[in-house]
């Protein structure tokens, strides 16, 4: 066992109350099971539970569809994206994070998009989300995940990259939700 790594995770969990953390092949059935868990745990706070479920599902499905590393989930169907997800609680807020490999070109584009979403006001975010929703599809996915994260978190989300090779970066997306959402 990698004792140092486990101790690092343990220490970090102690400070931040780690609720969910894993690295695996992110399949749709896995997302469903975890989304159900989230709903059961936070169900009484409807607005907040809804936002947490929405943020988690968007981020997990982003890994499923867009991770540069794919593998068979052992549940049939097409290969799914490999990545990690974490949900932690600290000081009255929930932090949802995803991490996965991404092509370098995509990471540059992602960084630009997130910069835009986090720098504009709430009304402008809603207007742009509305425009994107009405735009023609380019492929099987709507490309609305970032807009959803931006609106549900009130612009409190960001991305960081770690270079892993000439072609790939490791991207971490972090979304912050205030647990007081039901009292706003």
């Amino acid at each position: 066992m990698d004792t140092k790594r486990m101790h690092r995770v343990y220490t970090r969990s102690g400070h931040n109350r780690m609720l969910i953390t894993f690295k695996t092949v992110v399949s749709q059935p896995l997302i469903e099971r975890l989304a159900q868990t989230i709903k059961e745990q936070w169900g009484p706070k409807k607005l907040y539970a809804g936002r947490l479920q929405a943020v988690f599902v968007e981020m997990a499905q982003n890994v499923l569809h867009h991770s540069a590393e794919k593998a068979d989930a052992g549940e049939g169907g097409t290969p799914c994206g490999v990545g990690m997800m974490e949900i932690s609680e600290e000081e009255g807020r929930i932090k949802v994070q995803s991490g996965n490999l991404i092509l370098r070109d995509e990471s540059l584009r992602l960084a630009e998009q997130v910069d835009w979403w986090t720098s504009c006001e709430a009304e402008e975010r809603k207007r742009r989300q509305d425009r994107q929703r009405k735009a023609p599809r380019h492929g099987p996915h709507a490309g609305l995940g970032l807009a959803e994260l931006a609106v549900k978190t009130g612009g409190r989300f960001y991305v960081n990259f770690e270079t892993v090779s000439d072609r790939y970066d490791f991207v971490v997306i972090t979304a912050i939700l205030e647990t007081g959402a039901d009292h706003e």
Binding site: Q28, A54, D130, R133, A142
Partner: protein, 127 residues
Amino acid sequence: MNELNLESGVSTPGVLLSADSGAMRLTGECYPENAVEFFRPVFQWLDEYMDGRHRPLKVEVSLSYFNSSSSKCLLDVVERLDEYARQGASVMLWWHYAEGDEDLLESGKELADGVSFPFHLVMDEEA
């Protein structure tokens, strides 16, 4: 014309489309792996139902959650209903949301914006 009746799953809503009763109903949660694929039979049914005749259609949407990809499909549904209503068909829609769920209420208001048919926002109180 065949009825379309899909049982709900964890991430897919129950769907009932009945030509006999002129009713469309979506219930549950909606975040399938591929929303376009999931909604394909719904659009096919609507196209057939709306083809040529102006039969009335009552639509009930009671989704407790839908992902961003599904939101685009729901917008596509509402746009088709709106076009159908503008052609002279009687269309009515009831959009259900749980008490306190402002996000679902907001989504309903956004979809209702500018449509030509009655779009009712219905708050379901806590049991």
